[in-house]
């Protein structure tokens, strides 16, 4: 059973399930990007420190970086996005996840925002 999603100020979400975590971008971020046309997934085994550039998401307009919400190692990328990048817009919190990773230091999760805090944060950006 995965925990509730936690959010970064860069609009990534992370959900932890046992030893691994799933990372994606928030529906707010997907909406801001517009139509996603390409996702460059991180390679399996890539080691990431919190805040490192993990992958790149491209909309019709521009390329944007996706950062690692916590430190850890990439275990897999969502290969379904290679043929269907529009899934990011359709289901950012679910099927549109980007990659899975290990969590090196669970205490880093405490520094992230919960759903309610993230919502307040986004409202402040409008």
């Amino acid at each position: 059973m995965s925990t509730a999603a936690k959010y970064t100020e860069d609009h990534e979400w992370i959900k932890v399930d046992g030893d691994t975590a799933t990372v994606g971008i928030s529906p707010y971020a997907a909406g801001q990007l517009g139509d996603v046309v390409y996702v460059e997934l991180p390679e399996e085994g890539k080691e990431l420190a919190k805040g490192d550039e993990a992958c790149v998401v491209e909309s019709v307009k521009a390329a944007s970086e996706v950062y690692a919400p916590v430190s850890g190692t990439v275990t897999s990328g969502n290969e379904a996005l290679e043929d269907a990048p529009e899934t990011v817009n359709a289901d950012a919190s679910g099927e549109g996840w980007f990659f899975k990773m290990t969590v090196a230091d669970a205490s880093e999760l405490d520094e992230l925002m919960d759903e309610a805090a993230y919502k307040t944060y986004c409202d402040g950006l409008e």
Partner: protein, 386 residues
């Protein structure tokens, strides 16, 4: 978003509140607060314009007139020909041409549309439309060279909108039946019937999407009413700057400051078609030496279409290499083509690599990505030539 531009400093077109009311996401562009997209989103706006009709606010662009006091077209045309390589003098009333302001090195200061008005009593007037980001510099450039007896008039309170797409003619005909048979690159000054109200317009059959369509210059106090009226037609949707960019890129059209600038010549940029034959022979425009030399032999580099083989878009600034790692050029516009359903780009490459079919490598985030030089445009033009 640029940190340099303070939101309060941004100028607004007469349609600003209209854009906001229609849910536009506004961004700074060339000193203006402009709609980059509406709730439909860039992809759907793009595809809608190619399938039906799209309405664009291009009021940020510069509209001006050159008028000779002797009442002749020839005087103003001869003057303009000292700044641009197009044949202006042979323009008939109601016809327009695309051209470029050139510097003494044959580099492009701006690109522009030049029209000779067709309205009786005004057929000596030259109407120009220039880029928003260059307009102040363009006007200063003209004023500096302007001889006695010719006036540059930059009217206040004039808006400009474009209606583009295969259904544009059908929609415009409801306002002006004759609009349907206007030929590509022609213009007319005329009242139109806006839901029973007479509205004066300068209408040209031209645009920046590769589609059939019109550009309409209308008094700013009437522009909101006109746009609201156009939107009542099911065929018409608002299109923002995002889709404007992807539409023009698919159509192989240059964006000033990206695909053309003060270092690129019209020949390198593949705009030789816009330099009429007599001017290629006689010159008499800035940078004529370089341009005639490039026409005689070959330019060092050429603007080309580039098709990345994978799915990743290659953006402006991407380095173009040969298959053995020699740099041969740079991408000047690149992104995703919604109608092409894949990544597309334009850029400059050394002349010998400019032949369509040439295989190249693009360096995207440090990785080599195979690509091919292709013919422009990426989508066929759909102009109305009568």
């Amino acid at each position: 978003m640029s940190d340099e531009t303070n939101e309060q400093d941004l100028k607004r077109t007469a349609l600003h509140a209209f854009h906001v009311a229609h849910g536009a996401k506004m961004v700074p562009f060339a000193g203006y607060d402009m709609p980059v997209q509406y709730p439909m989103g860039v992809m759907k706006e793009h595809l809608h314009c190619r399938a039906s009709a799209g309405l664009f606010d291009v009021s940020h662009m510069g509209q001006a007139f050159l008028i000779a006091e002797d009442g002749t077209f020839e005087t103003a045309a001869k003057f303009l020909e000292t700044l641009v390589p197009a044949d202006v003098q042979s323009l008939k009333p109601g016809r327009q041409r695309y051209s470029q302001f050139l510097n003494d090195e044959g580099g492009i200061l701006d690109d522009l549309m030049i029209s000779r008005l067709a309205m009786p009593g005004h057929t000596h007037w030259i109407y120009i439309v220039v880029n928003a980001g260059c307009k102040d510099a363009d006007y200063a450039h003209i004023e500096k060279q302007l001889p006695e007896g010719i006036t540059l008039r930059v009217p206040d309170g004039l808006s400009l909108v474009a209606l583009q797409g295969p259904k544009a003619a059908e929609v415009m005909a409801r306002y002006l039946p004759d609009a349907a048979t206007m030929k590509f690159m022609s213009s007319v000054d005329t009242p139109i019937d806006m839901d029973g109200e007479e509205l004066w317009c300068h209408i040209s059959r031209s645009g920046y999407t590769g589609e059939d369509g019109y550009e309409l210059s209308i008094k700013s106090d009437k522009i909101v009413a006109f746009c609201e009226s156009l939107l009542k037609h099911d065929e018409v949707e608002l299109i923002g700057l995002g889709a404007r960019d992807s539409l023009r890129l698919e159509a192989g059209l240059c964006l000033y400051g990206h695909d053309i600038d003060t270092t690129t010549s019209p020949v390198e940029a593949g705009l030789t078609w816009s330099i009429q034959k007599n001017r290629r022979k006689t010159g008499g425009f800035p940078g004529a030496d370089r341009i005639m030399r490039e026409l005689d032999s070959k330019p060092k580099r050429r603007r080309v279409g580039i098709e990345p083989m994978g799915r990743a878009p290659a953006r402006e600034g991407t380095v173009i290499q040969t298959n053995n790692d020699t740099k041969i050029g740079t991408i000047t516009s690149g992104g995703y083509g919604p109608s092409v359903e894949g990544p597309i780009a334009m850029g400059y490459v050394d002349e010998h690599f400019s032949i369509p079919g040439t295989n190249v490598q693009l360096i995207v985030r440090g990785k080599e990505m195979p690509a091919k030089i292709v013919k422009l445009p990426f989508v066929p033009n759909n102009f109305y030539r009568g």
